[in-house]
Symmetry: C2
Subunit: 552 residues, 2 copies
Amino acid sequence: MPDALYEKHKDTLKRARTTIVSRTYWSPYPESPRGYGEEAPKKGEAAFESRLGKRFALDQAAAEWSSGGETSAYGRELGVAYPVTEVAALLDNAAAAAHQWAQAPVKHRSGVCLEILHRLGKNSFEMAHAVMQTTGQSFLMAFQAGGPHALDRGLEAVAYAHEAAVSLPKHMQWEKPQGKRDPIVLNKTWRLRPAGIAVTIGVSTFPTWNGYPGIFASLATGNPVIVKPHPATIMPFALFVETARGVLRDAGFDPNVVQLAVDNPGHPIAKDLVMDPRVKLVDYTGGSAFGDWLEQNVTHAEVFTEKAGVNSVILDSAEDLKGVFRNLSVSMTMYGGQMCTTPQNVYVPRSGMRVAGDEVPYADVVAGYTGAIAGLLSDDDRASDILGAIKDPASVDRIEAAAATGRVLLESRQIKNSLYPDAIVRTPVVVAADAADKDSYMREMFGPVIYVIATDSTKHSLELAKESALRHGAITWLVYSTDSSVQDAAEDAAVEAGVSVAFNLTGSLFVNQSAAFSDFHVTGANPAGNASLTDPAFIAKRFRVVGVRKPA
Amino acid sequence: MPDALYEKHKDTLKRARTTIVSRTYWSPYPESPRGYGEEAPKKGEAAFESRLGKRFALDQAAAEWSSGGETSAYGRELGVAYPVTEVAALLDNAAAAAHQWAQAPVKHRSGVCLEILHRLGKNSFEMAHAVMQTTGQSFLMAFQAGGPHALDRGLEAVAYAHEAAVSLPKHMQWEKPQGKRDPIVLNKTWRLRPAGIAVTIGVSTFPTWNGYPGIFASLATGNPVIVKPHPATIMPFALFVETARGVLRDAGFDPNVVQLAVDNPGHPIAKDLVMDPRVKLVDYTGGSAFGDWLEQNVTHAEVFTEKAGVNSVILDSAEDLKGVFRNLSVSMTMYGGQMCTTPQNVYVPRSGMRVAGDEVPYADVVAGYTGAIAGLLSDDDRASDILGAIKDPASVDRIEAAAATGRVLLESRQIKNSLYPDAIVRTPVVVAADAADKDSYMREMFGPVIYVIATDSTKHSLELAKESALRHGAITWLVYSTDSSVQDAAEDAAVEAGVSVAFNLTGSLFVNQSAAFSDFHVTGANPAGNASLTDPAFIAKRFRVVGVRKPA
């Protein structure tokens, strides 16, 4: 059976292994909902609805059943109860399942991983509803980022893991000349040794997109994985775990290679899980406070973090200022600024911008920018589609906190979602901050908060953005400049700041978007996180190599 | 100039990059002293002698000059004073040198690294004397392990680093189809970003062999390196730093890309160095106490450790028991057990061994083994050549401590070195330990101490060796068995214990020897160390990648 799974998916794996090298565009999982046939949308929605208000049928030993702290950002009553397996049992189960999984040939593990991705792909509509309702994303974003794009990221990790695992020769003969005497001849083999139990700690906003890379990297390198969702967003990972355990069982493996660990905000279990010495891998996405704690305290395991950052837009010059604002107004408002790649700070020289040969004064730049946002979000229904809903009510508090620290350039507006009246929907507040008032804007204000910072020059803008990235982390920069020397300076500053940088985006690609197989997500080189999705470092320490030498 | 260096050495680099994949035998630096011409030995010795009793001519700003705590294991008066650069100055210098080195093309950095290796290779006799006199190795070991074999390990690291650095496409065009609309087309580049300042903390016994991998891995990936030798063994690294700075200067780089940091045992500076937040890479070889401290406390940097372990020999069965003892008597006594790969514990079933169809009783096995050691070391001059000299007087104390915990099977003998009468030379004490008395033998007794442990069976032996490795670390296992099921069980146990394993060595290859380009040194999977020399994980986090996207 595992052999058959590998055969079934080997062409996909081969293409993935080629593409992580070429880094060209590729996605094996269609990103358009229209790519799944006529029945899929209805069936997926029905499958999701049938989960609500009852126990989630997961075959894990349960001391009790609990909904954790799960909420719907759209205000629906979900009422799904998940099996709660004790921490000690989770760890013992994982340890018991580890040996068989570790002993399995690389191809078998890759085959199982690819089949999990394949079955998840076929079920992208149910996953989309689960992601949408829990996180507050719009349906299309939930479909794409929660389904196909997340699967791309998972497959990418499997490709890196497979590549790393098969990079050593199989049995080989090593021959060292000894002058006139006979050479020394040894038969050598290398055995892979998985690191140990892996724990993934999920985030409430993009659980699958951020979670699959670590989960699949650990699985493909032979480690059992305990998936601990954010207590407020459980269902997407419950669907993943259900699918994974099904494939594992079908392939003859202990399903406890993948387990769900449900907790609730009152009794968090993440620390208990990760401090067990059998845990050797921890993948975390979420706020900086707990991420920093993990990095500083879990010294017995490899810790991979994706934390928070303050992303910047640098406005210097442009050919088409309307195109600039069109692009920015979307990228800075979609999903209400709840993406870790959303720009928060816009730096503009007080002297204004040079646009197609003309000088546009600062005030006009700001007016054009806020006007573009206001215009984009003027219709409530369209605004709802773009903004989604706010997952964490603390994001609403930040709107007022931000407004109190500077001059409000554009008020936040309360939007009514006609389908989900209880959803919390807000347009972003745009606040003018003084460049010197770093305490206000040089910190992450997760959610619908935007700062516009007037600077002495673009050089000054770059200095501030760099300082901000190195002190507080950053994942994306977006620079608008038609001047190649400014572009070069911005690129050098981005490299020093450890931030991916895009230039002059005016079309339908947004800086928030990071494409699997091509773009690295987070560099690992500033406080936004220590891991990069997916680079060789994300894989390398998930297994070790043991050499075996025998005389020939 | 850097271009010329790359051209000069590109064939060597190419071969190295091929060989880390094929893992076949190769060494570009001759391991035989005869491979260096007739003049080299005399010139090297004279160069070494000319260093003694004066200031070491290193062009580093010096607040003062100091010999640190340098000693000669052969009892010579070295009297070499090194420039002592203040910790703050070392860090500031490294930071100032970092930018130019980071900006240099990969080829230039690799060219500089290869030229450093090349010049060190031509100077292998001077290095051999420096290593021999400081560490107490025999001349031949000092020549090979301190010179060519260390250079192999350094080149191996450069090959991995170069491979990792050039693995991304240069400028490429990324094209995402958009159905009937025009595709999204982006020009993408990826820029490498070195991690930051690297600190190498050296060991007193094999400074270059253990130090070059981390140093060259950091240099080749663009990081400035501060080399802090063990205070008792400074000169080998002073020679390295002198050569490296010379090449850097010749190639137009700031020589402070490589600096020497001298301290003395009374005022150690390692903690001050590594706790500076600008330090992002730490390579350490040495005792477990400080290695554990680094792993647990230096959470702002990547820490690569090679610490201590308890290596095991498992005797089960053999065709040629004399060959077994011949091999073991050498591998367990060379350099007085001061190699981190030296076996310390010999496990023998109380029922004895099966040898070529006959049962050999336990007592006969032990007598044969101790007899082989006594015979090998019976002549003082030959014993001196094999044992070298003891570097750390604490190793002598351990002989008596070990003798006190069990029944002495072979007394340690004091040997007189006829050339160096003040050298401390001891044959190993062989002590019988009870399998249950884990406190005695299940700990590292660095130096000339061997335990023989009678067990219930080979299965019991493997269990004890595995427990020992997982609790206290281990780098090598050597198993003697003609039974393929025992070999398989031993291999599985070694994989679980994270220990490289060799079988049935009876010829001129010893388990202590680890060949660059083929054998990994330390697996990173047990407390003997978290790094493996050299695997992709040893390189991967020394630099990061920053993506740059521009519309086409």
